[in-house]
């Protein structure tokens, strides 16, 4: 009873903030609607938020445990697997894909060539992660993945975990900073399998000492 009462009090105390957040989010939606150019070369759908993006924005990437659980479940359900369910692809192609990744930029000022405006160009992984220790120009927004497979092994669980993580990072970490590479169409399932192999394979330079 006591805990119930305390929960009720806590909820009552939090409710005004939640309302204020919603109001603010509505105002920001209006701001966005007034501030981007529509027309040829633009894709206004990119500014529409899905439920996950909305929650991560309003909570500033700090969802409540209940919100995080809902996000994990919803995003897990989006994961698609490659033909034949082969989650370990070609690590050599994976190596190319982690380096490549320019594209998907639109608009009328400096758009990428039309063929590159869709996904499938690569993961641009070095922007945020260290991978092959020989590549020194690696960002640090995400954790280092050097020695990923050497540290974790190549069990079926690790392979699936890795594939899922790449396809939709928010299936495991709600409001992760990482793009949902597969779900958002940045990489295809086959490409994700290739990168999975690059991370896990013992032959991959990333796992060599």
């Amino acid at each position: 009873m006591k805990t119930k009462l305390m929960t009720a009090c806590l909820l009552a105390a939090l409710a005004p903030f939640a309302q204020a957040d919603d109001k603010l989010a509505t105002k920001v939606d209006k701001l966005v609607a007034e501030s981007f150019k529509s027309g040829p070369g633009q894709d206004m759908a990119r500014l529409e938020q899905d439920e996950t993006q909305k929650i991560c924005s309003v909570t500033r990437n700090n969802p409540t445990p209940a919100q995080a659980q809902a996000i994990n479940a919803r995003e897990q359900a989006t994961i698609k697997y490659p033909d034949g369910n082969k989650l370990m692809g070609d690590w050599k192609n994976g190596e190319k894909l982690v380096k490549a990744g320019f594209g998907m930029r639109i608009g009328n000022i400096e758009p990428d060539p039309t063929a590159k405006q869709k996904g499938g160009n690569g993961g641009n992984c070095y922007a945020c992660h260290a991978l092959d220790p020989k590549e020194v120009a690696a960002g640090n927004l995400g954790p280092s993945l050097t020695g990923y497979g050497a540290l974790r092994g190549s069990s079926d669980e690790i392979v699936k975990y890795t594939y899922d993580k790449l396809y939709n990072t928010q299936a495991t970490v709600a409001c992760s900073n990482m793009p949902r590479m597969g779900h958002n169409g940045i990489l295809t399932p086959a490409q994700i399998a290739d990168i999975t192999a690059y991370l896990i394979s013992a032959e991959s330079p990333l796992n060599k000492k």
Binding site: L24, F36, C56, R60, N61, V136, A137, A138, G139, R180
Partner: protein
């Protein structure tokens, strides 16, 4: 000048513990800090000439433009922007205000001006008139404290909306501004990223825009920076002088309050 450059290098060295490779980046930055060698000065001169020249369908100069301190008062005006303007009933930053003056005083059409706002570095273009005039007006606040007003309700609202916009995740990358700019010591590849919640960091950034961007070969302004970030976030083009850009710039400028403008800047 030499000791100033060395002093700056030392300051940068103290600013943050450096990861491997960052010391050489700091050296490079220190070399860029020599203002006498900043090509942005040439663009500021061009902006000065354009500002005083009679131009546009109304054949008028911009000498009567009010950037917040009264018509024609440029000294320190940029240091107190963005601010609320009664005549437009809007909060405006330097560039949206300039657009107001160029349309109202000189008779240029907004569509015409917006058709070519930014020099295209891929074509090795020179700065546009709007870019040059912006750099000139901003330069009149060199050495002054960043001090945007926060009295009018609209000014408070703009800064608040700007912060919420800063955290809004959208687009195929799921990015918001905060993805890259809310933590210390982060980099994309080897490019250091500013943490807007760290006063020293954000002051160092905001105090040095407009800036000569070596990789572009031209002076860039804050509106271009806002467009550039959104373009990299894979959104549609964010509109020049739009409420969202002004809100974001309001938020960022308030975060940097107390810093001292050091113009023009020079960056990668």
């Amino acid at each position: 000048m030499k000791s100033k450059v060395m002093g700056l290098g030392a300051m940068l060295a103290l600013a943050a513990p450096m990861a491997w490779g960052e010391a050489s980046v700091a050296d490079y930055r220190a070399q860029l800090a020599d203002k006498d060698a900043n090509p942005g000065i040439l663009i500021i001169d061009k902006g000065e000439r354009l500002f005083h020249e009679k131009r546009g369908p109304k054949n008028a100069s911009l000498e009567k433009c009010d950037f917040g301190l009264g018509p024609g008062k440029l000294k320190g005006a940029y240091a107190q922007l963005p601010r609320y303007f009664k005549d437009t009933n809007k909060v405006q930053d330097l560039e949206s205000r300039l657009l107001t003056c160029m349309t109202k005083l000189q008779g240029f059409s907004e569509d015409e001006l917006k058709a070519k706002l930014y020099a295209d570095q891929r074509l090795n273009e020179d700065n546009t008139d709007v870019e040059a005039i912006t750099a000139y007006v901003a330069f009149q606040s060199d050495g002054m404290k960043i001090n945007p007003p926060l009295k009018h309700a609209a000014e408070k609202e703009a800064a608040k909306l700007g912060e919420a916009m800063f955290w809004r995740r959208h687009g195929p990358m799921d990015f918001s501004c905060a993805t890259c700019h809310a933590e210390d010591g982060k980099r994309v590849r080897l490019q250091s990223l500013v943490n807007v919640y760290k006063p020293k960091d954000i002051q160092a950034t905001m105090s040095t825009w407009p800036t000569y961007r070596v990789s572009h070969g031209v002076v860039r302004n804050m509106q271009h920076r806002m467009w550039d970030c959104h373009w990299q976030m894979r959104t549609p083009d964010i509109d020049y002088g739009s409420p969202a850009t002004v809100a974001l710039i309001s938020f960022l400028t308030h975060q940097a309050k107390g810093g001292t403008y050091d113009l023009p800047g020079m960056k990668r």
